[in-house]
Amino acid sequence: MTPITPYHYLVLSAALFMLGVIGVMTRRNIIIIFMSIELMLNAVNINLAAFSQQLHNAVGQVFAIFVVAVAAAEAAIGLGIILAFYRNKETLNIDEMNILRW
């Protein structure tokens, strides 16, 4: 077996990112779409950590921590919007979230 290089991590991260994209594109439950976005953010973090190890520079990890902070903010606001929407329309289907589209 070949030793594990940053390239392996990049392939893994690309595959995970693709799964996220497929989830966002094909699912219609808004909560699952949010979770797919979290998958994509994780893929980005794997990339940052892999490069940080390869370049022996911790800045990549610092940025990964910022990504986590932004993900936390996004989850709080996004889930707040979902709950508010659910109270009004009793659905989580993203196809029906079109009241602003005029």
Binding site: H8, N29, I65
Partner: protein, 172 residues
């Protein structure tokens, strides 16, 4: 050898749980698979020597953010998920096509970069590995060079907190 086995096992778990997150019918199952996925990603961080990031991943992501998702899923508790509704405009097929295009793009980039490794990368790999504790290094960077982004992130979280309260409250 050991590293390879570990990596391929973890990668298989990460992608497997990822597939389950995207395909599972039950939303609560999705959340559970997402947690499992995040835990495996945390182990990948440990392999990469980023212990502090791994802990943050478990503590903030798996232990905080996903609990929030679980709460919302439980509060909403749909009898019949939106994915059971008829897909009138066949959007999921369009979605698959778009995702395939993106997959092609990313793999093209990967193949291209594998054929031509950047020279700067090879030079940097020659410098000795830092042996100081990972937490200290990250902490130093966060509180010196990246102090302003750090403060901006804390502002962002504060604003998000206030916004979430405003959104969730019925009457203000």
């Amino acid at each position: 050898m050991f590293e390879s086995i570990l990596f391929y096992t973890l990668a298989a778990f990460i992608l497997g749980f990822g597939v389950l997150v995207v395909t599972a019918r039950n939303t609560v199952h999705c959340v559970v698979f997402l947690v499992a996925n995040f835990l495996c990603v945390a182990m990948i961080y440990v392999m990469l020597g980023a212990e502090f990031l791994a802990i943050i991943q478990v503590l903030v992501y798996a232990g905080g953010i996903v609990v929030l998702y679980l709460f919302v899923v439980m509060l909403v508790n749909l009898k019949r998920g939106p994915d059971a509704a008829p897909d009138r405009r066949r959007q999921s097929r369009v979605g698959f096509v778009l995702a395939a295009v993106m997959l092609a793009e990313i793999s093209a980039i990967l193949v291209y970069s594998a054929a031509r490794p950047a020279s700067a990368v090879a030079a940097a790999a020659a410098t000795p590995l830092q042996t100081v504790g990972n937490t200290e290094v990250v902490g130093m960077l966060l509180y010196t060079d990246y102090l302003i982004p750090f403060e901006v992130a804390s502002m962002l979280l504060l604003v998000a907190m206030i916004g979430a309260i405003l959104l969730a409250k019925k009457e203000i």
